[in-house]
């Protein structure tokens, strides 16, 4: 352990170069994804088309959530005036930087899914709100002031638009700080972050009600928003961790050490428990009250084709981080953290799968070319976009007022 050293040998002008294998593989993954989606859409099978839409929604939502979690991370660090993270903020900033692209992709998916009736047909279909129609559904009619075509799409545009604007401005201010120094950028970022967090906190539950919960429009749960937030935050932290470890293994970011990794590990551990807490709170209230209009949600997930996955969801997202990350040393080791982060990303894919599939394709669920291909495609797209973004700026916010404290971070 070094002394109280105020001199360091870090190269703060270090740039990431996105080339070679990483670039090739991410492009191959994108091509595989496009091929899988084309296969699902063009085979002429109606159910397969719906399944493809459900998968696109899953990955589009997952992708947008992870990028939004990047923006949330950046804002949270400013508002809490955190120092530990000052050396690694470029990673969540890059994720936040591609939020506009992710938002547009998700908008296209939900827009097409909605207008072609492949998604959200539980509340958007011919005659559902017309009392004279044989399809009339009084519950849906009662919700139509909120759940309707234009209201739904405008909320999507407003929410994701707001998140994107804040994400871009926060990243821009940090890049400006690199050039100009001083505290102006930091002070502005602090104020903007506070405003962003209030907006984000109040709108993400509504956003998840719209995007995911309305797939089964008869059912509702007020816990659903926090449940989705927990999933978003854990998966966002896992992505930050993976990108960080990949960069470190490639020899970059020497100023980030096991102490910073330990903090990320604690956040992942803690918020996995939080995810379980919210998941269980939603479950036990419905289980205890035992009202048919509420239990239908879990009834569907208790059917033979979903039951094993329902349990696996808890094992991966609760038991695995609990047992694997409880040890201090595990949180400080790159390989252990990399393993858990990848496992949790797979786990939250399954989590979204359990949320989306029973309300869309129901008993026609599957796990094959479409699922794997779509997931691979989005992973490739994310890697390509985030790594390109990272390569465009220095890997450290070199004039961040807390950078020096971050270098000496020790826990």
């Amino acid at each position: 352990m070094g002394t109280h050293n105020h001199h360091h040998d870090y190269n703060f002008n270090e740039r990431y170069e996105f080339a070679g294998k990483a670039k090739t593989f991410s492009i191959i993954a994108i091509v595989v994804g496009i091929a899988a989606v084309a296969y699902g859409m063009l085979m002429g099978d109606h159910i397969l088309v719906e399944r493809t839409y459900a998968n696109l929604l899953l990955m589009g939502y997952y992708f947008t959530c992870v990028c939004a979690a990047g923006a949330f991370f950046v804002a949270l660090q400013y508002v809490t005036q955190s120092a530990w993270s000052a050396g690694l903020v470029r990673i969540p900033q890059a994720m936040a930087g591609i939020l506009p692209i992710a938002s547009i992709i998700l908008l296209v998916i939900v827009g097409l899914g909605l207008s072609t009736h492949n998604l959200y047909h539980h509340w958007y279909a011919e005659g559902l709100t017309d009392p004279n129609s044989p399809n009339y559904d009084s519950i849906i009619a009662g919700k139509s002031w909120y759940l309707n075509f234009s209201g739904f799409l405008s909320r999507q545009v407003i929410f994701m638009g707001l998140y994107s604007i804040f994400a871009i401005i926060l990243a821009k201010l940090s890049y400006k700080e690199d050039l100009e120094g001083g505290l102006n950028s930091y002070k502005k970022s602090f104020k903007l972050s506070a405003i962003f967090l209030v907006i984000f906190g109040f709108t993400t539950p509504i956003w998840s009600f719209d995007t995911i919960m309305s797939l089964e429009a008869h059912w509702f749960s007020t816990m659903f928003g926090w449940y989705n937030f927990a999933a978003m935050w854990v998966s966002g932290l896992c992505v930050i961790t993976i990108v960080l470890i990949v960069l470190k293994k490639a020899g970059y970011m020497s100023w980030v050490n096991e102490n910073h990794l330990h903090d990320l590990g604690k956040l992942i551990f803690g918020f996995s428990i939080f995810w379980t807490y919210v998941w269980f709170a939603q479950f036990i209230l419905i289980w205890y009250a035992n009202m048919p209009e509420e239990t239908v949600y879990f009834y569907k997930r208790w059917e033979p084709e979903y039951k094993p996955w329902f349990w696996l969801n808890i094992i991966i997202n609760f038991l695995a981080p609990l047992l694997l990350l409880v040890d201090r040393d595990a949180k400080r080791k790159q390989n252990a953290m990399l393993f858990v982060a990848i496992l949790l990303l797979a786990g939250h894919w399954l989590d979204y799968y359990i949320m989306i599939m029973p309300g869309t394709v129901e008993s026609h669920r599957g796990f094959g070319i479409v699922e794997i291909g779509t997931a691979l495609g989005f992973v490739g797209l994310f890697t390509f976009l985030v790594m390109s973004k990272l390569s465009k700026q220095g890997l450290v916010a070199k004039n961040h007022p807390f950078l020096d404290e971050s270098l000496h971070h020790q826990i």
Binding site: T3, H4, I284, W287, Y288, A289, N290, Q410
Partner: protein
């Protein structure tokens, strides 16, 4: 100097104290402990302080809490006075989770606080063990066992060289009892 139990180097600056530790260790002087008014990063590793065993106590109290919470529920809900609540079986595990969880946290937290207080002599009504009162205010103290390290002149020189404002030779360990 025959009665001296501990030599205390009192520093006004934490960096000076850290250099003092380095220099003493280089000269094979073993350091008993350091006392600072605020946490100093890296000092545990430098002094070779072993990781706290408090997590072990936490685990034991947590396990005790789980057992207590679960037994309480089992006794009241299943054994002593089973009730029909919404047609659910009396012994329904999901019901047991919230209370068991809360009792686990409660016993774990209280147990950890009690262990910490016991170990550090901080129980209300007890005089705390303090080797130098200004360590709780504005001084950074290095304490050296005077019996283990016999070359007191060398220690004195090193402490003063590295910036100690004051060097004390204490005949008793804790000044707070006086």
């Amino acid at each position: 100097m025959g009665n001296t139990k501990y030599i205390l180097g009192s520093f006004a600056d934490p960096d000076d104290m850290m250099h003092g530790i380095d220099k003493l260790q280089k000269n094979n002087v073993s350091i008993y402990d350091c006392f600072t008014p605020m946490p100093i990063h890296g000092i545990e590793a430098k002094l070779g302080v072993k990781p706290s065993r408090l997590p072990i106590a936490a685990f034991c109290f947590g396990a005790l809490g789980t057992l207590l919470g679960f037994s309480l529920l089992y006794y009241t809900m299943v054994h002593d006075w089973p009730m029909n609540i919404g047609g659910k079986p009396s012994f329904a595990i999901p019901n047991f989770v919230p209370v068991t969880f809360e009792v686990t946290i409660l016993i774990c937290a209280l147990g950890m606080v009690a262990t910490f207080f016991y170990r550090n002599h901080l129980f209300p009504g007890r005089t705390p063990r303090v080797m130098d009162l200004r360590a709780t205010d504005d001084r950074f103290i290095i304490a050296i066992d005077a019996h283990e390290n016999t070359d007191h002149a060398l220690i004195d020189t090193i402490l003063k060289e590295t910036g100690a404002v004051e060097v004390k030779y204490n005949d008793r360990k804790y000044v707070s009892y006086e």
